[in-house]
Amino acid sequence: MIRTVDLFKSFGENEVLKGITTEFYAGKPNLIIGSSGAGKTVLLKLLVGLFKPTSGQVFYDDTDLFAIGDEALREVRMKVGMLFQGNALFDSMTVGENIRFPMDMFTKKSTAEKNKRVDECLEMVNMEGINDRFPSEVSGGMQKRVGIARAMVLKPKYLFCDEPNSGLDPKTSILIDELIYDLTHENKITTVINTHDMNSVMGIGENIVLLKDGHLVWQGNKHEVLESDKEVLQDFIFASPFLRRLREDALKQRHAND
């Protein structure tokens, strides 16, 4: 579990996060949503320690991320996997070498063991047999999967995904969401996803945190999204008339069934 306590972050005069206190649960996909500029990426980067907060704390279970030294921080990070918005795959390495890199750096496994684990990870994301291709030789969706495979290679306890669906078509987006959902449940990891994709919210949102102007304005799950009358939530999720009609139909159907 990851917990934030009264988290503030400013860049000069610009206060981006204003007192975020929340929890991200183990074994569940936790979504951070909000419009552009709401502070989602800043919150995600604070959670992984790429930014330091102006004030406040981030706890990984009982470990205060910003009260420990650099060496201890690196140890925490070895339990963390992250999928970047732009994938951040190393261009000069093949897919196989990309996935193997964390093992090369931190484990004493033999080459055969490492290659076996690379194959396992590629199989996990349904990408068998592309070990020798370079990232530039595979599609955007495949790169996302390779990014997930690399994030999972050291069997992390925490998985962070920054806009995993950006630049993907709706069908591939859903496949990526399902993949993250399955990995989260199968491996009991704490997954935090930064997104503004409404398919993700309604598909895998077991714990959703809505940010607006740096404030946490709502927290709940995908079922509560439909029921909630909170205006700020409805304005964001069901932004178009078409989506509002869909919501009304879904609610009518649910009440009829009840």
Binding site: V48, L50, D70, R74, E75, R77, M78, V80, G81, M82, F84, Q85, G86, A88, F90, D91, F101, P102, D104, M105, F106, L154, F160
Partner: protein, 248 residues
Amino acid sequence: MVIDKFFFNLGSYVNLLRSSLTRPEKFSMYYKETVRQMDAIGVGSVFIVLLISIFIGMVTAVQFADQLGDSFVPSYYIGYIVRDITIIEMAPTITCLVLAGKVGSNMAAEIGGMRQKEHIDAMEIMGVNTAAYLILPKIIAAVVVIPMLVAISAFVSIIGGYLSTVIPGTISHTEYVLGLRTFFVPRYVFMMFVKAAVFAFLLTSISCYMGYNAKGGSIELGEASTNAVVMSDVFILVFDFLIALILT
């Protein structure tokens, strides 16, 4: 304002160097990266070093021969002057100024590109000490390989001087070789290697610092690359003077 910026950058540079001088996570990975950098810096720069060195030697010899003219200074002094100018100044300084342009800009662009594509963030999150992994192998490789390039440069410059004066018949083979063997001070060779190692450290660490702190997009990456070359050149010249003061 300029002074504030200078001290801010100096502090950040020292902090980055301090972070890079820590125990590697895995020696084999650092060793592999160091060897790769040695190949890129050394083998990748031999041709340009040979080219500039032979011309430096030729120009030095031809111009000195012209200035001697019909003076009372013995003509074997041409070999002596080419040797000393090359060893003391031309080989280490000109080679490193050129390498700052070739190797330094490349390092700044490589690390800056990794910063912009979030590769450095990705490594940080894996638990890699990026300052150490990306910078230390480059510094070690440069400090080992650049003095070798400088030694090659000195040798080739002296050959250049020979070709441009002995072959046209300005002086004889015996005179040139006599000049090379006259008034030899071994300390100058030591000074050449000290300069080469110090300049190698400066040009790699400054270039890596510029790349590591690159922000924004392609324009900022270009600026980082240019600043890497300019600042490396400035500091090479400043330290050239300081080493000359200390060692002579």
